[in-house]
Amino acid sequence: MKNLQVDALVVGGGIAGMQSALDLADQGFHVALVEKEASIGGKMISLSKVFPTLDCCSCITTPKMSAVAHHENITLLTYCEVVALEQNGASYRAQINKKPRYVNEESCTGCRLCEYACPLDLPSAFDMGLGAQRVIRVPFSTAVPQKAVLDIDNCILCGKCENVCPVADCIDFTQTAVTFEIHADAIVLATGFELTPTDAKAEYGGGKLRNVVDALTVERFLAPTGPYGHVLRPSDGKEPESIAYVQCAGSRDISLGVAYCSRICCMYAIKQAMLLSGALPLADITIYYMDIRTFGKGYEQFYQNARAMGIEFVRGKVARIHEDAAQNPVVRVEQIDDGSVVEREHDMVVLSVGMLPSYNPGLIYNVPVAADDGFVAQSAANISPCLTYQPGIFVAGTAAGPMDIVDSIVMAGAAAAETAAYLEERRAVGMAGNGRSPQTTSVKEVSYA
């Protein structure tokens, strides 16, 4: 694989990374977007509909994914990770490791014949283990690139996929990881977040009780591409009649070492409650909460609509959850309004899990994280929120702490502005090392060996 010279390297192909890459590329800068998964789209692509507009999530995400893939100034590198970074004068030299897909990315047409031929089903991480995927598969229906990827550790090497593949030499069991370098004048870290593990709080039974699920699982239930095609509870496929949300399940909880608010959980719980009322008109939906934090534009109105729709909001701290003989979760809650402790049975309980930092860029990028929350530290949080403590390295989206999609997109735009200005100012003083002038459009670098 050939080395690449670009103006900016964007790390992470979630919504923030894509937006930063697009905003830089639209200004004429050459961008390499590196994503560790086999497809871009990040966490957002697995969501159903998004608040407060209730737009279908794909309608927002997939066009941006497509735009990234087709932009003449963006080189998209999936299944790649930055494994080392060297400072080269005022520029950066990133060493990239491209994991083997065992499929020729150039020639694969995404026809999925291999996937249908493959004999073994595995729990699909994309559907939180509740759906299935084959050992060789296109990651999901709207994946970019639409290219198959093979999980060699679960492969019996039967060769059926190879037999049905219409493209010669496309499936290649001997593929190995390759390394190459990207030379960039600036870097945008858009490495995103992780969700609180479902079993983080033992009292809530997540990971143990089958009908206690996290909110991302419900996103998959509600998505048209979800595992069941309906909202069903995982223990036995029953259509739930009573669903409860436990707010702050992983946030504002010092016992978990997470003192902060995750910002998104109130709104996603309310949104899911609304969508569930649409999907299951007879279901009762209860939200147990401490404070409702619907602070964004149009969010408070959204909350009031949900109240008017009959969604039950109970001020209370859930102490623990156990299950009865029919695997119905029973929630023990102290109701703040009257101090009473009650136990209520539901068909399914959803943990409104929070956001955790997913990646510490300290080691490779020498970019420190904040001691109290583990997210990338912002050196000028108020006036220049995208600056890190490392010149030329900027941060966008949830790598810098919990935020919702709207705020991530705005911050990604801001990161693009900071990066572009930084590149322009360097150019003005004649320090430009790697990139080409944004005004010249030359042939895109060939990125494959």
Binding site: Q146, P224, K297, E300, N382, V410, A416, E425
Partner: protein
């Protein structure tokens, strides 16, 4: 301008695509029926449906049909055109087709969403809309976008932190910026703050550094006391009129310090806690440093110099600028409670949080906090004043609407104030009366935790039982009483005797109706300026080239304002960086052979310089006909109706196309298709 040569006599092969919109359409509309019905229509060679046509895979489907099946006109039934018309135009262009050989039909907004309770009716309507789309597609003509030279110059309205940030980021990209500020000084409301969350930095220190970068940047020109008074033109080439007031006393005439000026006006910088003169400076270290005259309160002779009355005159000057884009960063104003809300304006001991922040600042190193001549021992903060209001419970604003939104910043700002209060005056008892505590931001929860450690006493009310503030009976130690039904103590009614009540007031947009009108942008139902779409185009208005930055768009804290401002700057750089902008070709076009120069179109036209009468050569003879200036035409179509000769038409939306669409919508034989 497109060639008007006759089209090659090619066979029209239409591809029709019905998007399921991830369930948004297919949950209501029977997409399979739409596909089948559309497939039966004349010239349609492909009819398909897809879960999400705007995805890469969906777009690839369309591209493949164009390349492999010879599709040369594309009709897509999907979301509103505002969402993805551009996306699909790109798809069609990538496949080698003229991007205007594509017609977008909005069956999400017009069928599935509005008729969600009537799936059959929604399906029938979707079929008719698609049939009309196909009818139009048969008559589509190839068009080219109108390309205009773009001024590499942007106007930023508002010199608060968002405007400053936006101006700086645009300038850093090599684009000239004119920054105008209505007041005589930069910094906006941020200058009135002290420590700012979440960093604890001094607000004016941060501002000073930012202002320094702005005013020293070679690409930025600054005008204070300046307002936008006129706008013409379109994206890339606006002509804006700016009107600037005189500063009053300039450095070269006299030294302002020698002017004798009685401090007899309430100082808005301190929310009336102090007074200032008509010749004033809000705070030491402000920018510009020169004091300015407050012309609204100036009376001739009210100032003296060396014992002589000084005669000053405001001579506003107006000038034009050519700019390619406009960033609106007009900011917010704190909610002003009506007289009597929580005792405001009735009890002197009731003040707003912004005023309290000034009070703390003015107290300086004082050993005790005094208000109204009394030492403050007990103080209550009340949250959500002017925010999260409910119809029927709260007094509406003059427009009849209550403020039903959350103002985002007040919770953390209140807790920051209680923490500062505790640090400086640990003996004061603090009550915090709230509905929900919303310390959502990074580091904000720590302010809440610290307040709890500081023994701030929290009391929680429900939105249907708002607290009350009353005067204490005469002779009581504390002048005011706050009544709360507190749900942290299971609904007990509590009476808090206090010396000061601080109302955590929310944000309202600055009144900018004039700017809204001039720029033809929109405000939302919350009165803040509206973006096109919160995720797809979060800092853009519906008017190309007009962008939003900061709290003009909605409540935001400083960090969020700066992020939004930088994002707007990135959009300006995208727009103006290339040196040209492209506009949709949907403009009026004149057939000179039919035009008899009656001028009816000009009479009806609402846009300046969009149509003019000019001599043109028609078939070798010169005649005077209407000529359209594409850059000024908004494509409204009023002229089309006015023309007695049908000589003027709208490109991309011609009368013929409309007629075909109407015929298709009303076609009898469609009923069979609808029922199929």
């Amino acid at each position: 301008m497109p060639d008007k040569e006759p089209l090659p006599a090619e066979e029209i092969r239409i591809g029709v695509y019905t998007c399921q919109c991830g369930g948004n359409i297919s949950d209501v509309v029977g997409c399979a029926r739409v596909v089948k019905a559309a497939g039966e229509l004349g010239n349609v060679v492909v009819s398909r449906t897809n879960l999400s046509l705007c995805s890469d895979a969906g777009q690839a489907l369309i591209e493949a049909d164009i390349k492999e099946k010879g599709v040369n006109r594309v009709v897509i039934g999907a979301c509103a055109p505002s969402l993805h018309e551009q996306t699909f135009r790109g798809t069609v262009a990538r496949a080698g087709l003229n991007p205007y050989f594509y017609n977008h039909v909005g069956i999400r907004e017009q069928a599935s969403w509005v008729h969600h309770d009537n799936p059959d009716g929604a399906t029938a309507k979707a079929i008719r809309l698609m049939a009309a789309g196909v009818a139009k597609a048969r008559l589509l003509e190839p068009l080219e976008p109108i390309r205009l030279k773009a001024q590499k110059h942007a106007l930023v309205i508002g010199g608060g932190v968002a405007g400053l940030r936006a101006a700086l980021d645009i300038a850093r990209r090599g684009i000239k910026v004119t920054l105008i500020e209505k007041s005589p000084f930069l910094g906006g409301h941020m200058a009135q703050l002290e420590q700012v969350f979440p960093t604890g930095d001094g607000a004016r220190d941060l501002l000073k550094a930012l202002i320094q970068r702005v005013v020293s940047h070679a690409n930025i020109t600054l005008y204070t006391q300046a307002e936008l008074v006129g706008v013409q033109g379109v994206v890339g080439d606006f002509t804006v009129q700016i009107c600037q007031q005189s500063r009053g006393i300039s450095d070269d005439r006299v030294t302002a310090v020698n002017v004798v000026a009685p401090a007899n006006l309430p100082d808005e910088f301190n929310y009336g806690l102090t007074t200032r003169s008509v010749l004033y400076q809000p705070y030491p270290g402000c920018y510009p440093a020169t004091p300015a005259i407050d012309w609204a309160h100036y009376e001739d002779g009210c100032l003296e110099l060396n014992g002589e009355p000084l005669h000053l005159q405001n001579k506003p000057k107006t000038f034009d600028l050519a700019v390619g884009a406009v960033v609106v960063a007009t900011g917010f104003r704190p909610y002003e409670p009506p007289i009597g809300e929580y005792g405001y304006g009735v009890l002197p001991e009731v003040i707003t949080l912004p005023a309290f922040i000034r009070l703390l600042a003015l107290a300086g190193e004082d050993e005790r906090l005094e208000f109204n001549g009394r030492a403050v021992k007990n103080i209550a903060f009340v949250h959500c004043v002017g925010s999260r209001q409910l119809d029927g419970l709260n007094e509406p604003q003059p427009d009849g609407q209550v403020n039903d939104y959350c103002s985002r910043v007040c919770c953390t700002a209140t807790l920051q104030a209680t923490n500062e209060l505790h640090q400086r005056y640990p003996a004061i008892n603090v009550f915090d009366v709230y509905e929900d505590i919303r310390t959502y931001g990074r580091g904000h929860e720590l302010y809440y935790n610290l307040a709890s450690e500081n023994r701030v006493r929290f009391l929680r009310f429900h939105d249907d039982e708002l607290p009350e503030v009353l005067a204490a009976p005469a002779g009581e130690e504390h002048p005011a009483l706050v009544w709360v039904t507190d749900y942290l103590t299971w609904g007990q009614s509590l009476e808090l005797p206090v010396d000061l009540v601080v109302l955590a007031v929310g944000m309202m947009p600055n009144p900018v109706d004039d700017i809204i009108k001039l720029l033809k942008i929109n405000a939302g139902s919350d009165r803040f300026l509206a973006e096109v779409h919160p995720k797809l185009r979060p800092v853009e208005t519906a008017v190309p080239g007009v962008l939003l930055a900061g709290t003009a768009q909605g409540p935001m804290n400083i960090q969020e304002s700066c992020a939004a401002a930088s994002a707007a700057a990135a959009k300006v750089a995208v727009l103006l960086g290339q040196g040209y902008v492209e506009l949709e070709p949907f403009v009026a076009i004149v057939n000179p052979a039919l035009c008899d120069g009656s001028g009816e179109c000009i009479k009806e036209c609402c846009y300046e310089d969009a149509i003019s009468m000019q001599p043109v050569m028609v078939n070798g003879t010169e005649k005077v006909t209407a000529v359209v200036c594409a850059a000024n035409c908004a494509g409204c179509g009023v002229c089309v109706g006015a023309c007695p000769n049908r000589a003027i038409d709208l490109q991309g939306w011609t009368l013929k196309q409309y007629e075909a669409m109407v015929d298709a919508l009303a076609a009898e034989d469609l009923f069979a298709l609808e029922l199929a």
